[in-house]
Amino acid sequence: MKDIAKALGLITQIGISMFIPIFICLFIGGFLDRRLGTSPWIMIVFIILGVAAGFRSVYMMTLGYFKDKDDPLYYKKKEN
C-alpha cells in the first residue's frame, strides 16, 4: 500500500516538476524583456534553461527513487 502511494506520488510529481521550471523561466524572461526592451531574446534563452532545469528535476527525482549504487547512472554522492 505504501509502495503504491509512493509510486503514485512520484508519477504525478514528475509531470508537475517538468513544467514548473519552464513556467518560472518564461515569467522571469518575460519580465526581464519588458524591463530591458529586448523582446523576445532573453525569454528564448530562459525557456531553453527552463527545459533543461525541468529535465534535471525529473532526473534527480527518479534517481532518488532508484537509489542503487550499482546503477551506472548513480553519480551523485560518489565522493562521500
Binding site: 502511494a5 503514485l8 510529481q13 521550471p21 518560472i24 523561466c25 525541468g54 554522492k77
Partner: protein
Amino acid sequence: MFKSCLLDKITIIPGLVCYDTDAVPKEGLDFNIGVYKEVPFMGHTCYITQTMVTTWFFMLVLLVFALCVRAKLKKYTQVPKGGQNVIEFIVELMDSFTRSNMGDKYAYFGKWFFGVFMFILMSNLSGLLGFRPPTADLATTAAITLTTFFLIHFMGITKGKAGYFKGYLEPIPILLPINIISEFATPISLSFRLFGNILGGMIIMSMIYSTAAKYVVPAIAHIYFDVFAGVLQTVIFCMLSQLFIKDKIPD
C-alpha cells in the same frame, strides 16, 4: 486584451490572482476567496479572507485537542490503556512512516510532519463540512512548502557542509543556473500540486451542487474528490517533503 479575456473566462483561480472586484462575476458560481474585512495596514490594505478565518478555526481546534490530550496524559501508564492506546497508535503510525522514508537517524522529523499532516488532512476534509478548504488557496500551500524549502536547505547546509555547495556544480560547473532553477522549482511544484488537486475537487463539487444535484448523488463524488483525493494528497505531500529533505542529506 488577452488578460481581460482570460479574466472573463477564468475567474476560478482564487488565491493566484489578486482579489479584483471587477473581475468577479456578480451572479452565478463564485469560487473566489471571500474577503470578509479590509484592514488598512501601513499604507496598504490587508484582506481578512475566508481562508484565514477557516485556518484560525482549525488551528484552534488542533491546539485545544492537543492541550486536552496532554492534560489527560499527565497520568500516563507504561502499559497503555483507554484513550492512550489511540494516541500512541496515531503517533507511532506517523513515526514509522517517517522512519521508512528518512531512516532511523532522522526519525525526529516525525513530530514536525505529524503536525503538518494533521493540519493538511483537516483542511482537505473540511469540504465535507461545507467549508472552503484552506488548502484550496495557494497562499496556504505556499506557506507550508516554504517551511519544507527551509528544512531542505537547512539540513543540506548543516549536514552536507561543503558537499552541499559542491552539489550545485555537478556533474559539470556550467550547469549551475539549471541546478539553481530546479531547486527553486521544487517547493513551487509541491505547493501547486496540493493546491490544484484540492481546488479542482472543490470546483467540481460546487458545480455538482449548483447544477446536477437533482440527478447525481453528491455523496459519491464527495468520496472521491474530498476523502480519497484529500487523504492521498496529504500522504503524498508529507512523503515527497521527506524524500526531498532526505535527498539533500549525504549518507
